[in-house]
């Protein structure tokens, strides 16, 4: 266990807005240097959780501690957090240099020293130091030649980097990013992902990254918290979230194309039955269940689940085969060399070691292989 006095800890945070519960007692811990993504559909409470951490949204109950200090009721300015807003929230009337300097000036200079004209006379040394720190953060972000421009004269990607620079320039304990890539075009988004992770590593802060894009969460985060309806459904590494989801909702939210869900049953002997046919899988559960198989875990076999090809999508490095099997639609990811024709009848098998079993309530059920053989 980490010492509880470092990093960010949220305990049972609850938020209700206008009678609607937005957060239902959410707990989350982020260690210094760790990058946690809050992933979920819009309206799931991920941004609200971030705002609770930042101090922009007071929680109805619960506790927020940063480096061992209880900041639940503290003003945002007193929390040692920095935030990158979705629309960057740059001060439009200040130059890039001034924008990046704001967090430093607010902490290192008093009100008189910040005064225009005269203030400079009383704070020459502090101002020189601020200028040095601004230059030091601007250089690696490629902003050095833009320092005297106003935000309106910058491209979206440049504004994004200014917002990042402003956030990390004072080395915050907690670094919050609210969908920072959602306003960038697709190509820039991919390259900026890496940049953000590098900035995070340099800053060494406990970082929380809000996104609804699973690709961002899977590629960037050390751990992902999948949120839905004001709750964290699962918190784990990207691999665990993808391969070992605790909940049907997590399994369907993560993965593109979506996981295939097939209605199945567990007989009295504990053997899993799909379409009446026994599978080499057993479960301690009984009755109706849902079998989940990811598109890449299917293969075409001499015998198995009978299916008919409905549609083929060629995507260059792979292709997606949409099949119809006993009323259910199955999407299979295949090598592009695999040539199948529309309407062709074939048999499908899946890798039982990677299949997932869910109960009627959506909870993950334990499952074991009966024999080594596949279907």
């Amino acid at each position: 266990m980490r010492p509880p006095d470092s990093g960010l800890h949220v305990e049972e945070a609850a938020v209700t807005l206008g009678g609607n519960p937005i957060l239902r007692g959410v707990s989350l811990s982020v260690a210094p240097g760790e990058f946690v993504a809050l992933l979920g559909p819009s309206g799931c409470g991920k941004t609200t959780l971030m705002r609770v951490v930042a101090g922009l949204q007071p929680p109805a109950s619960g506790r927020v501690t940063i480096n061992g200090r209880d900041v639940t009721r503290a003003h945002p300015a007193e929390r040692d957090v920095a935030m990158v807003f979705q629309n960057y929230a740059l001060y439009p009337h200040l130059t890039v240099r001034q924008n990046i300097a704001v967090p430093l000036a607010m902490r290192r200079l008093n009100g008189w020293q910040r005064a225009p004209l005269l203030g400079g006379l009383f704070s020459r040394a502090a101002r020189a130091e601020i200028a040095r720190d601004v230059a030091a953060i601007a250089e690696p972000l490629g902003l050095a030649h833009l320092l005297d421009r106003k935000p309106a004269q910058l491209s979206g990607g440049q504004r994004q980097r200014v917002a990042l620079a402003r956030a990390v320039v004072r080395r915050p304990a907690v670094f919050l990013l609210d969908e920072p890539l959602s306003n960038l075009d697709a190509a820039l988004r991919v390259s900026t992902r890496r940049e953000i992770v590098e900035i995070h590593r340099r800053a060494g802060a406990a970082s929380v990254y809000v996104t609804h894009d699973q690709a961002e969460a899977l590629t960037m985060a050390d751990r992902i918290a999948v949120m839905q309806a004001g709750e964290i459904l699962q918190l784990g590494t990207p691999e665990a979230i993808y391969r070992d989801p605790a909940d049907l909702r997590v399994a369907t939210f993560i993965g593109s194309p979506r996981i295939n869900l097939l209605p199945a049953a567990v007989g009295e002997d504990g053997v899993l039955l799909l379409d009446g046919a026994a599978l080499p899988l057993t479960s301690p559960a009984r009755g109706a269940v849902t079998l989940g198989v990811r598109p890449e875990d299917w293969r075409i076999a001499p015998a198995g689940l009978p299916a008919r090809v409905a549609h083929v999508e060629f995507l260059g490095d792979h292709e997606l085969i949409h099949l119809e099997a006993g009323g259910a639609e199955i999407v299979m990811r295949a090598e592009p060399e695999l040539r199948v024709a529309r309407g062709e009848a074939l048999h499908l098998a899946f890798d039982p070691a990677r299949a997932l079993l869910f109960g009627a309530d959506g909870r993950r059920l334990p499952m074991a292989q009966r024999e080594a053989a596949h279907v």
């Binding site: 007193e78 935030m83 807003f85 979705q86 001060y91 009100g111």
Partner: protein, 305 residues
């Protein structure tokens, strides 16, 4: 639609028809602009250089004589000075008060609509009618203001509207009362246009006090609003007329004589329309100069998001 692109492609007659149609369609607007705005203005300008008086025909062209008379006229100089003092009192006070009220109402959680309505009332009420109420409030003997002052121990409170020392200040107070509510509404509109994210970014960046936030975010982003409010307030205060006409008639002893009132008395009491037009021209030049200063000087320093 670009003319160059069309000229080659279209036959001559069709182009002519299109041009004719365009002129016909813009004719009502052009005509009314000409008849209702441009010609009267030009007529007034021309009149300023004549000795035109109602009943004396034909008027004679007298060049700059009207302006020479104005320069020598102590009454006019007094009126000009009074106007400057009035604007100097009303404009800053009503702009600052409007801003203060807007900030207070925006910050307050409750009663927003109520306070907005209360302070906006003077704008929608008829000044001439409200002047009667002011006359009563400021009455030297039966007015509630002086009654209150006497209770507070002021032995002989001033006769607000009939003392030459106090009359301008009294009129200016009424002017502030009239204009602050309007400015408040403009500032409130400006405040709602400031994105909430910016205020939140400021607080995360370490801005703690309301004053620091005002300095970093609110005031700079209100720049365009402030520029507009200052311009409109200056012009509205230079145009002060109805309170003067109803409450003091420029008195006592021309102590509250202002530009528009002088113009009015010269033109409609003494029927010296030529001289009155000359004063109007001076007034017009002042207003245009104000607008020019605003747009040229201040525009450069104001950030338009």
């Amino acid at each position: 639609m670009s003319e160059a692109a069309l000229s080659g492609a279209l036959p001559h007659r069709r182009r002519l028809g299109e041009a004719l149609g365009g002129w016909l369609l813009s004719l009502p607007a052009a005509l009314s602009f000409l008849l209702l705005l441009l010609l009267p203005t030009l007529a007034a300008v021309a009149m300023a250089f004549t000795d035109f008086e109602l009943g004396l025909w034909p008027p004679a062209w007298i060049g700059l004589e009207n302006f020479e008379e104005m320069w020598a006229d102590r009454g006019f100089r007094q009126s000009f000075r009074n106007t400057v003092v009035y604007v100097g009192l009303v404009a800053p006070a009503s702009v600052l008060l409007g801003l203060g009220l807007a900030l207070l109402i925006e910050a307050g959680a409750r009663g927003r609509a109520f306070f907005r309505a209360v302070f906006f009332l003077p704008v929608v009420s008829l000044t001439v009618a409200m002047a009667a109420a002011w006359q009563y409030l400021l009455h030297p003997t039966i007015g509630p203001l002086n009654a209150a002052l006497r209770v507070l121990g002021v032995a002989s409170p001033p006769a607000w509207l009939s003392s030459s020392d106090w009359v301008l200040l009294s009129l200016a107070s009424i002017g502030v009362w009239e204009q602050a509510g309007f400015n408040m509404v403009l500032f409130m509109a400006g405040l709602t246009a400031i994105p909430r994210e910016l205020r939140e970014a400021a607080s995360v960046d370490g801005v703690h006090s309301a004053f620091a936030r005002f300095r970093l975010v609110t005031w700079p982003l209100l720049g365009p609003t402030t520029l507009f409010v200052v311009t409109i307030t200056l012009i509205r205060s230079v145009r002060v007329f109805d309170t003067v006409a109803v409450l003091t008639r420029g008195g006592p002893n021309k102590a509250s004589e202002v530009l528009l009132y002088t113009m009015y008395t010269e033109g409609f009491t003494f029927l010296r329309l030529g001289y009155s037009a000359a004063i109007t021209l001076v007034f017009l030049v002042i207003v245009l100069a104000l607008m020019l200063v605003q747009t040229r000087l201040l525009d450069r320093r104001v950030h338009y998001g």
